[in-house]
Symmetry: C2
């Protein structure tokens, strides 16, 4: 296939299938005891996610000439971490959501206790996988130490979990733009940036390449969130798989609420262009990263 014929949608479809097949291989099999727990873990992992974090990790690895098969375990680990965070976010004590991607949330199907433990199990499974020498043996333990450190920090109390806490606390009071950016750079941005950085490390990036890809990760990650906020207002329910305007109903701060719809779209476009600029040194090998940023931002226009 010539480069001009490259198209994003078939690329994403193929990558989603690859990630799903690999997740299926690495997760404990259905029926593994305790069966209810492993069913619950698999239910949320295979509930139709877009696999954006693993796909970005694979693309970052390939942008610096790395091999997809070397980065697949870490790509699956980050998706397990993402899945755990969604299960816990949806709990009655947190966002109390009944639907996720158009199907009942984990605790609606398996009960609250099992949902908490399924989340705990998935987070832990990510680190089981990242330290499994049979799976990760082609990459040095030294490199994996860095990978584990980056992923854990991005998911932890000064990353994703910290962002979730500030997001919860922000529901009770007016939120300014710096707080909103704090929430997003931590709650969702940290893991997206980690996806890119881990892909770069396993792909063998130079220090300079790694810095450039991290700039892409930071700006694209925030652009995705601005686009999500816009979509929450303008999309219809079937497109979103959750209640339209649910952020607004909850009194959550959003970019359109703070900047207006036009201002939010302008911010998304600026961030996308910064992401493009960071990719310039990579040429055609960064085409998937560029097209993904373009696609996610543009669908909110």
């Amino acid at each position: 296939m010539g480069n001009d014929e490259w198209q994003l949608q078939p690329y994403l479809t193929e990558r989603i299938e690859l990630v799903n097949a690999t997740l299926d291989r690495y997760l404990p099999k259905a029926g593994t005891l305790p069966a209810s727990l492993h069913d619950a873990m698999r239910y949320s992992v295979f509930a139709g996610g877009k696999r954006i974090r693993p796909i970005l990790m694979l693309a970052a690895c390939e942008a610096v000439g790395g091999k997809v098969e070397n980065v697949l375990p870490a790509a699956c680990a980050i998706e397990m971490i993402h899945s755990y965070s969604l299960i816990h976010d949806d709990l009655p004590a947190m966002d109390d959501d009944n639907l996720r991607r158009g199907i009942p949330t984990n605790h609606k199907v398996y009960g609250e206790a099992t949902a908490i433990l399924a989340g705990d199990g998935l987070l832990t499974e990510a680190f089981i996988l990242l330290s499994n020498p049979d799976v990760c043996g082609v990459v040095t333990a030294e490199k994996y130490r860095e990978v584990i450190h980056i992923l854990a920090k991005s998911a932890g109390s000064m990353g994703m979990v910290g962002g979730q806490v500030v997001d919860m606390e922000a529901e009770e009071k007016p939120v300014d733009l710096p707080t909103l950016e704090y929430i997003h750079t931590h709650k969702t941005g940290a893991l997206i940036l980690a996806a890119i950085e881990v892909g770069a490390i396993i792909g063998g990036a130079t220090a300079k390449q790694r810095r450039a890809l991290c700039r892409y990760g930071e700006t694209a990650g925030l652009a995705f969130q601005v686009a999500d906020d816009i979509l929450d207002i303008v999309a219809d329910q079937s497109q979103l798989g959750k209640d339209v305007g649910s952020d607004q109903q909850r009194g959550k701060a959003t970019y359109p609420a703070l900047l207006g719809l036009k201002g939010a779209r302008q911010r998304a476009a600026e961030l996308r262009d910064l992401a493009f600029a960071a990719l310039e040194p990579f040429g055609v090998s960064a085409r998937p990263l560029r097209e993904i940023a373009s696609y996610i931002v543009d669908r909110s226009f």
Copy 2:
């Protein structure tokens, strides 16, 4: 101090202080943003735990001639994992406990949402610590990969989290002895065994020493649980820091319920003696491990 003067209580006191001081150093400082989250994480870690898992890990390391300072980071990591598991176990959706070690449980102080996230944060913090090259740099990354793998597996869906699920499910039906042992070897035994095994690995154990210490970990871990079940029946509340007979009230299966009080004490003593036998090759260097097993079982007599 001559060997004959060695006493368990001063040893435990000194070790608890060492573990507490090291945990204080490795955990994010109080006031680190988000402050409520880090306060909640610290609240449960410093709520008066006996530090039995870190102390066993240090003792296993020393039993094979290893250095305490090399194993302290992993010892703190296992205590973070243990603390997270207690926070989640106490949640309204799980055991719904108001008191733990005589003080209010995490969700009673910080609310349910923050308690869930404090648990998530502590579990993740364990892996941040275990992959921090500034802290763990004296031990090879190769060895740490194994340490992380063992700790994660023992805490995960086929270890501690799996044991918790089977324990919950067992509340609804009569439980036989094999199921009770499954619950205990997974819910509490897996992490105790991991403490011993990690101590052995970092201490530089031979394969034979490691197998012997694992036999100690398996038998002592189960002995502790049998002793706990007995204490739940015979101790008074001040000794226990929780409601006496709370397991019974909840209809939980216990060793005394299945074997009678006398039978349970006999089982605890048998397991303790198996633990002693496993330590024989180590001589005086395993004295702390021996005395700990002896102390924990004997206080239930």
